[in-house]
């Protein structure tokens, strides 16, 4: 199959890739660009480990063709920190021990970030519904919910400089 040119913007950086059009977005991000924060889990739109933001919306990158993401702004877990400072949600995950094995973490954080962008004052139940598309097999849900809740309540602020 003849490779096609794809221009992809990930974390504000533009990349030119030559790919087979069947390449999935998660493959483009991990295997072609080399950003391995995004995890490849179930590959069937179930687990959410591959969640990235496309134009600010949480999407499962195992179920999007890379070609379909051309011209959009993609954000991965690597894109959350600013000038070496972790984003509030990342700090909260660390403080609350919101992971065990860590495989679901980057997807969970991306989903949480998109959720918090839309919901400034979520209830605990809304947070739980908000992460319905992400599976944690270490059953760390309670600490994850607490981390998101603490971020929503403004206990972690963004370091601008």
């Amino acid at each position: 199959m003849e490779k096609q040119l794809l221009r992809l913007t990930v974390n504000g950086q533009e990349y030119e890739l030559y790919i087979n059009p069947k390449t999935l977005l998660v493959e483009a991000i991990r295997d072609h660009i080399g950003l391995t924060g995004t995890k490849r889990g179930c590959d069937t739109v179930s687990c959410g480990a591959c969640t990235v933001l496309i134009d600010g919306m949480a999407v499962k990158s195992c179920s999007v063709l890379a070609m379909q993401a051309e011209g959009t702004e993609i954000t991965t877990a690597e894109g959350l920190e600013k000038n070496g400072n972790l984003a509030p949600i990342q700090k909260a995950f660390i403080d609350h021990g919101a992971f065990q094995c860590g495989f679901c973490t980057s997807g969970m954080i991306m989903t949480a970030q998109a959720f918090l962008n839309e919901n400034k004052n979520p209830t605990e139940w809304e947070i739980r519904e908000g992460i319905e598309g992400n599976i944690c097999r270490c059953t760390g849900y309670n600490s994850i919910v607490r981390a998101i809740d603490a971020t929503a309540k403004g206990k972690y602020t963004e370091v601008k400089s």
Partner: protein, 288 residues
């Protein structure tokens, strides 16, 4: 593994029609939330993939009191879920979308793609059929509109002809004294429904049932109406015992499969219970 295919990305609807007419072994992708799974399983291996996700002409939600609701095919589920005008006029659609898969899927998956995929376990179809929706399809040779009920032919098969795309879903204006409800039975919140039931009830001036629709999901090859139960209700003063009778009919007038998630017998039982409950819920809403 996904097969190698030629990727086509039309910029306009007209271009899409032309490309689709030109290529024989061509499959349409929009959100691809279902399609990419079956392609990965090797169940479909098209030579061409036509990507209509970016056709902005089909991305809209319009509402008019006389015309009703019109949703373009490439509208994402999340836009329907968050639409104020839909929430106000067709709350059951928002409730259904809210339980459709996960937020990530609703952010990328589209209403047209969902209907064209024709999975009998799909959530939107039973609700839309209960709301008497039509579907507009079309291609290079022109457009046509049919009832959504007639659009579904068999498992994953629709009435789309070669070269035709789903263009628009149309829902008639909400009738007064009408209620509608939908529920699926599933083990995990974001799963496909094991079975599902949608119901709508319209009352007349005397509080009797003027019209009723009962539509079952994953109870056979296509979403199916339970007309025998609908006929039982129309013209009567509705009450619990009638809903129970309608539920019993629903559990008889269906053809659910048995699989790893549930036996046929269990599915029939669930369909009866859900039908009864959804009729009650729709009735209570119609009375209010």
């Amino acid at each position: 593994m996904i097969n190698d295919f030629n990727y086509l990305r039309p910029g306009t609807l007209k271009e899409a029609f032309a490309m689709y007419a030109e290529h024989d072994d061509c499959k349409v992708i929009c959100g691809g939330q279902s399609l990419l799974i079956v392609m990965r399983q090797g169940m479909i291996a098209p030579e061409y993939l036509l990507d209509i996700k970016r056709i902005k002409e089909l991305d809209y939600i319009k509402f008019d009191k006389k015309e009703g609701l019109k949703i373009g095919a490439t509208t994402i589920h999340r836009a329907i879920e968050k639409s104020d005008v839909i929430k106000k006029n067709y709350p059951v659609l928002v409730a259904m979308e809210n339980k459709l898969a996960s937020i990530q899927v609703r952010n990328w998956g589209t209403i047209g793609g969902n209907l064209a995929h024709a999975d009998p376990a799909g959530d939107p179809a039973p609700v839309l059929i209960a709301l008497k929706a039509n579907i507009k399809v079309g291609g290079a040779k022109g457009e046509r509109t049919m009832s959504l009920e007639d659009f579904f032919v068999d498992y994953f098969e629709t009435a789309l002809n070669k070269g035709e795309l789903v263009l628009e879903v149309q829902v008639p204006p909400p009738e007064p004294k009408t209620g509608a409800a939908y529920q699926k039975f599933n083990l995990l919140e974001s799963d496909m429904g094991v079975v599902a039931a949608a119901a709508s009830v319209t009352l007349d001036g005397n509080g009797k049932c003027k019209d009723a629709r009962i539509v079952l999901g994953n109870a056979g090859a296509t979403p199916r109406r339970v007309k025998r139960a609908e006929e039982l209700l129309v013209g009567k003063a509705l009450k619990e015992s009638l809903f129970a009778d309608a539920g019993k009919i629903a559990s008889e007038d269906c053809e659910p499969v048995a699989d790893i998630h549930a036996s046929e017998e269990h599915r029939r039982h669930l369909l009866g219970v859900l039908t009864k409950r959804m009729l009650k819920k729709a009735f209570d809403e119609a009375k209010a």
